[in-house]
Amino acid sequence: MSRTLTYREALNDALREELDRDQRVLLLGEDIGAFDGAFRVTKGLLADYGEERVRDTPSAPGTIVGMGVGAAIVGLRPVVELMTITAALRALDQIAVSAAQARFQSGGQLSVPLVLRAPQGGGHQLGPTHSHSLEAMLLAIPGLLVATPSTPADAKGLLKSAIRSDDPVFVIEHESLYGTKGEIPEGEHLVPFGEAVVRRPGRDLTILGISRGALTALDAADVLEREHGVSAEVVDPRTLRPLDLPTILESVKRTNRLLIVEEGWPQGGVGATIAALVLEQAFDFLDGPVLRVAGAEAPVGYSRVLERAAQASSREVAQAALTALGR
């Protein structure tokens, strides 16, 4: 049995279930209450759970995250929404130091079961300050778990697992996926961290897609099959820390070729990291270089044309795959 929900509804579902299950869970964020959240993810939660548990905050990212850290240390399980991932840049000291290092600094005395949520990426011309993709910066931080759900089912299952995690977690949502629909298993649906999924089996090469990149990879795989008779395997890591490297390596050792699709900036990116890891651990299995199709080395422009130019398109991914195959 399953239901069809949007990514947005799936997240709302996850929050409701965890709010029902665990009194320690409470939500903090700008306009998450009366306004239902900038992207309507917290729709109806203020009415149903009250202002003790669903708290509207001012636009002060550092302080909101810091309060989440303090509340988590003293026994709660706060879920903090930031209106845009760019706001996380203002709170990065609280994220990278207070949240991610408290356990370490205290020699294990403190625990920070905090969840941060924010939308990233482009798609609706939000322009240079509301279209960043920052998974790589967050992945860099030891002590911080990072999830990048690309489907409604994963959005629900990963957010629920995140809320139950004793480590701080950043759940990176994608601004242009909120409206996408998908099947959600009935009842308790948890997606464990560190478990990649093969979205489409294939023989000729592996395409690894991060966040929305997983969907771009699937589209590209269709094009490759239809127009070029190429069989591409599509892998979605789903969480970046922990990263399910074994599943990625298994796939690469079969197909001997890897292409990584991400929307973030190419330098210091997730693609570069995984390319380096695979290179180090499966060099002898690689028939060619690991290729990356990343976001542009530029801010995301407002115009539809410039926004698209800043993102990885399925056409480009298909083209890169053919390059990888020496075609």
Binding site: P58, S59, T129, R292, G301, S303, L306
Partner: protein, 336 residues
């Protein structure tokens, strides 16, 4: 004000029609505050504002056609389609833009004032912000340092009730906020943000104080924004009462009526003005519609300074092998 109003109404329609994308934060109801504040500046002064930038650009004198073209994301736009409504900039008019991050422009405004002062020029920098931005720490940090360093900055808080986002007690000027900033050594004034004459007078006073006494000044301008559900559905909405309540305070109507009352304007002139404005806007729309979309490659322009050593970087892997631009000059050449 007429211009801002009609422009916003038209932009709202075009947003609905998909000609304009992204977030479009309308300023319907804020016209008196915006026009009054910006009219208090001289040409040599600097202006910064929030994501609600297109209205401020118009108020500062930017060409409606180039503003509309920017909203269309076209080459003819002030920023060639890179900025959209939230990040509009027009340096010729010393309008430093449109800032998407709430409060992010406040330290930049203080820095601009520092540069003017340092270079011995009696320019004032004005930053317009929403009440929400005063909840962010940069507000106090920037005002505090501006006071300590005697910087001529004027912050105008448009306290807008109605519309998107955490409102605080936006309805009225806040006595608490006044105490806070006075504690920072900042002069605080209040005006009626629904009355363009009063706003202009108070802001002119603020600008004078900032310029002559070399100190930061805060002006609180309470306004009532037209009921708007959100920046993704910007056309005026809200129930009958809300709209009626707002109409009763519409700054344009009030100002217009007053001009007629005191005999400064004939109702006939008023109608003519409206027609002229309408014509200007239609010209802007058609200019925007005719302006070409940028080329995809344009994305890489203006990322780094032309001729700077950074440009060499462009030659090397901008986005993974498959996207690699043609290898440019060796950095050793480029950086010479």
């Amino acid at each position: 004000m007429q211009l801002l109003r009609r422009f916003d109404e038209r932009a709202g329609e075009l947003y609905g029609a998909g000609q304009i994308g992204g977030f479009l934060h309308l300023a319907i109801g804020e016209e008196a505050a915006i026009v009054g504040a910006t009219r208090a500046l001289e040409d040599r002064d600097w202006l910064l504002t929030t994501f609600r930038a297109h209205a401020h650009a118009l108020a500062r004198g930017s060409e409606p056609a180039r503003v509309m073209a920017e909203l269309f994301g076209r080459v003819g736009g002030l920023c060639h389609g890179r900025a959209g409504a939230m990040h509009l900039t027009d340096v010729e008019r010393r309008f430093l833009g449109g800032f998407g991050m709430v409060g992010g422009h406040l330290p930049i405004a203080a820095g601009a004032a520092l540069a003017s002062t340092y270079q011995g020029r009696a320019e004032v920098t004005m930053a317009i912000l929403g009440d929400g931005a005063s909840g962010n720490g940069v507000f106090g940090e920037s005002l505090g340092l501006a006071a300590k360093w005697n910087l001529p900055v004027v912050l105008v808080i448009v306290r807008a009730l109605g519309g998107y986002a955490t409102e605080g007690d936006a309805a009225a000027a806040s006595a608490d906020l006044q105490r806070q900033v006075e504690g920072l050594g900042v002069k605080a004034l209040t005006c009626n943000g629904m009355d363009v004459v009063d706003t202009q007078a108070v802001c002119a006073d603020a600008v004078r104080i900032a310029r002559t006494e070399r100190r930061p000044v805060l002006v609180q301008a309470p306004t009532l924004r037209a009921p708007t559900p959100s920046p993704t559905a910007p056309r005026a909405a809200g129930d009958r009462e809300q709209i009626a309540a707002w109409k009763a305070r519409d700054p344009l109507a009030l100002f217009g009526d007053r001009l007629v009352e005191v005999g400064l304007v004939e109702s006939a002139d008023r109608a003519r003005l409206q027609m002229q404005v309408g014509a200007v806007i239609e010209q802007a729309v058609s200019f925007a519609g005719r302006s070409p979309h940028p080329e995809p490659e344009a994305l890489y322009e203006h990322v780094l300074a032309p001729g700077g050593s950074g440009e060499a970087w462009r030659g090397f892997d901008l986005r993974g092998t498959s996207r690699r631009a043609e290898a440019g000059p060796h950095p050793r050449e480029a950086s010479k």
